[in-house]
């Protein structure tokens, strides 16, 4: 029996015990916090960083919380079962950490009004269901700036997972930076239809590099594209965790997600009884995203990147400041305004300058 399914069994048993345990519950009981992961905690990417967040939570609260996680949970029906098991098992707070868990989480949240749920990267809220995400587009914009400065071939590659707003938004942010800092630079997007498949991610990186790309971005969770970039002698931008040691001569920066502070804050709110459903967006300013810039980047470029970061942090600059046109040339975000969170959350168009078509 695999570890994930063993855990599911344990959760199932815990559910049975939980029913009796709640009868005798008193204030000193630890808060039960559950996490549902899309990949293995050892992906060294997206799920790994959520697991780091869980570890931070344990460090902060010690025996005041009791946490557990289920990894490798497929999006869809499988996820619904796992989330429901957690709710049944007396979990007070459940974090579901992938876009495709949105509908299952919303459904279970309705059925268990006493439990609290938080879903990462989605847009459905309820009285007991909040959402949270990292504004990775801020990191992508800075990455796009670095790519614009470092590319020689004027071709940038993007290994994309699924055409959801989060991914489309990030691709757009890079295009906006390329337009501004190195006009005429092309972004090539390859969809691999997976969040985690090291072999396929490496193949995609190779295919892009064969076509002249010299900076590789990824919106997938394994370090394989970084390794490929290192091998082939091109640059790369890491994603989710700091991937520099997989490509010391390749990685310009990594968009590192730091979930710990948010997990600690939400857990504290649930313990204090003042948790409220919200749509939390954490970025560079909140410390939810960190951008360790590599010494490969020349000093003057690094200084300029740090100025952009400072601008994003103090709010004087927003990557999606209007006017922003889509591929047809229609104005999507008017001049003088910046994109609202709702507009960003529902972004389903490529901005002007991207030549590829968005998959339908």
């Amino acid at each position: 029996m695999s570890i994930p399914s063993l855990k599911r069994l344990v959760l199932g048993v815990a559910a049975a015990i939980g029913l009796t345990a709640t009868l005798g519950a008193h204030a000193a009981d630890p808060l039960k916090v559950g996490f549902v992961y899309i990949g293995p905690i050892g992906d060294h990417g997206w799920t790994y960083q959520h697991e780091q967040g869980r570890q931070a939570l344990i460090k902060q609260f010690g025996d005041k919380v009791q946490t557990s996680f289920v990894e490798n949970v497929a999006e869809g029906a499988d996820a619904e079962r796992v989330i429901r098991n957690m709710a049944k098992g007396g979990y007070d707070l459940v974090f579901t950490t992938s876009f495709g868990y949105m509908n299952p989480t919303a459904k279970v949240a309705k059925q268990f009004p006493k439990a609290t749920f938080e879903h990462a990267t989605g847009y459905k809220q309820d009285k007991n269901l909040g959402t949270y995400l990292s504004t990775s587009y801020e990191g992508r914009y800075v990455g796009g700036f670095l790519a614009a400065k470092m590319t020689k071939s004027k071709k940038i590659g993007y290994i994309a997972s699924f055409p959801i707003p989060e991914v489309i938004r990030d691709i757009n942010a890079i295009q906006l930076a390329l337009d501004k800092y190195n006009p005429g630079t092309e972004i090539k997007v390859v969809w691999v239809n997976s969040w985690f498949d090291p072999g396929k991610e490496a193949d995609a990186a190779n295919a892009l590099i064969d076509q002249g790309v010299d900076v590789v971005f990824q919106h997938t969770d394994s370090p394989a594209p970084i390794q490929t970039a290192e091998r082939r002698g091109v640059y790369a931008i890491g994603y989710a965790s700091d991937m520099a040691h997989f490509g010391p001569k390749a990685v310009l920066t990594s968009i590192v997600n730091n979930w710990g502070p948010h997990y600690i804050r939400s857990t504290q709110a649930v313990i204090d009884g003042n948790w409220k459903s919200q749509d939390y967006w954490g970025g560079l300013a909140e410390g939810t995203i960190e951008l360790p810039i590599s010494p490969l980047v020349p000093a003057e470029v690094k200084t300029e990147a740090e100025q952009i970061i400072a601008g994003i942090k103090d709010g004087s600059f927003h990557p999606f400041a209007g006017p922003i046109l889509d591929q047809k040339g229609d104005v999507r975000i008017a001049a003088g305004s910046v994109a609202s969170n709702a507009e960003l959350a529902g972004m389903n168009y490529y901005v002007k300058g991207i030549s590829a078509q968005l998959p339908q």
Binding site: P40, G42, N72, P198, G199, D203, A207, L208, A224
Partner: protein, 308 residues
């Protein structure tokens, strides 16, 4: 499309097809003797993690490959014990082995995640690698790919031209008759299962030491299952196994390259392409039902008790 691009695509096709080829060849030998082992994915992952740990700790990639094969053999021995020794249901045993292998490899490898390793580098064969188009594809690969060529040649010869091939086939077609002829049916089947384990372990090592030199849980991402399907769709014929593996590799690569060039075909359709193309071609090749039945091992998946 220029020549360079085609040459690169062919090169990537072989790289992508190699793990499938290795697993499928092992399973083919195993199925020829009438044993269906669905544990390929598990054996592959266990091989990948053991290979990585050994190579990382000792600095010897070859020692990693060797122990990856042994790791595959170890799990295969477990399968042989349960499915052949105790005559348990082969399908259930194989499924259990896959689930066990996924969990075991994740458990064993948890401390090795996120460690970078310099894997097998391409080794160009002088002169031959300069041949246009096919030079890069055939003679500029890493040693494990060359090894897969050699193993393919060896297995093809053994299955089609040698006495060993006849023995394997006899055991798979009619174990009772084979036993009556004095062939050690159980020993042949056990050895075939262990050989399959070694091949799956080596395929795992190819993933963690050459293809993407690192360890990550579930890094095989279903390749063991694809290899299993390839054996069936290739109707148990060794040349078609090679064709199927490379065809799958080619379609996988084409779907990535086409997107980079900007050919606008829906991504989901493109993602299906490797599966569809491989199935269509192999089904067309095997449309003659009578001849296909000739190649399918008659006793496949059926437990056999000795002592007749």
């Amino acid at each position: 499309m220029d020549l360079d691009l085609i040459s690169n695509i062919l090169y990537a096709m072989v790289r992508c097809g190699t793990p499938l080829l290795l697993v499928a060849l092992g399973e083919l030998v195993c199925e020829k003797t009438g044993v269906l082992n669905l544990g390929q994915e598990g054996m592959m992952l266990f091989g990948a993690v053991i290979g990585f740990i050994v190579a990382f700790s000792t600095g010897s990639l070859w020692l990693g490959v060797l122990l990856a094969c042994l790791a595959g053999i170890l799990l295969a021995a477990l399968f042989a014990l349960v499915a052949l020794g105790c005559q348990a249901n082969q399908v259930a045993t194989g499924l259990a082995l896959t689930i066990f292998g996924i969990g075991l490899s994740a458990f064993v490898g948890s401390a090795w995640v996120g460690k970078p390793l310099t894997g097998f580098e391409p080794l160009a064969i002088p002169l031959l690698s300069d041949i246009p188009l096919i030079g890069h594809m055939l003679f500029n690969q890493d040693v494990l790919v060359y090894l897969s060529f050699a193993l393919f040649a060896l297995i093809t010869w053994a299955l089609l031209k040698s006495r060993l091939g006849l023995i394997l086939q006899a055991v798979g077609e009619n174990p009772n008759a084979a036993s009556a002829m004095g062939l050690p049916v159980m020993r042949v089947r056990t050895l075939a299962v262990l050989f399959g384990g070694a091949m799956a372990g080596m395929a795992g090592a190819y993933l963690s030491l050459a293809y993407t030199p690192m360890w990550a849980q579930n890094m095989s991402a279903g390749r063991g299952w694809i290899a299993l399907a390839l054996v069936v769709f290739a109707s148990w014929r060794v040349l078609r196994v090679l064709l199927g593996a490379y065809l799958f590799g080619l379609a996988s690569i084409l779907h990535l390259v086409a997107q980079g060039i900007g050919i606008s075909i829906p991504a989901n359709l493109l993602a299906m392409l490797p599966y569809v193309a491989t199935i269509v071609v192999l089904v067309l090749l095997s449309r003659d039902a009578v001849r296909t039945r000739l190649y399918a091992p008659v006793s496949l998946g059926q437990p056999w008790r000795g002592g007749h």
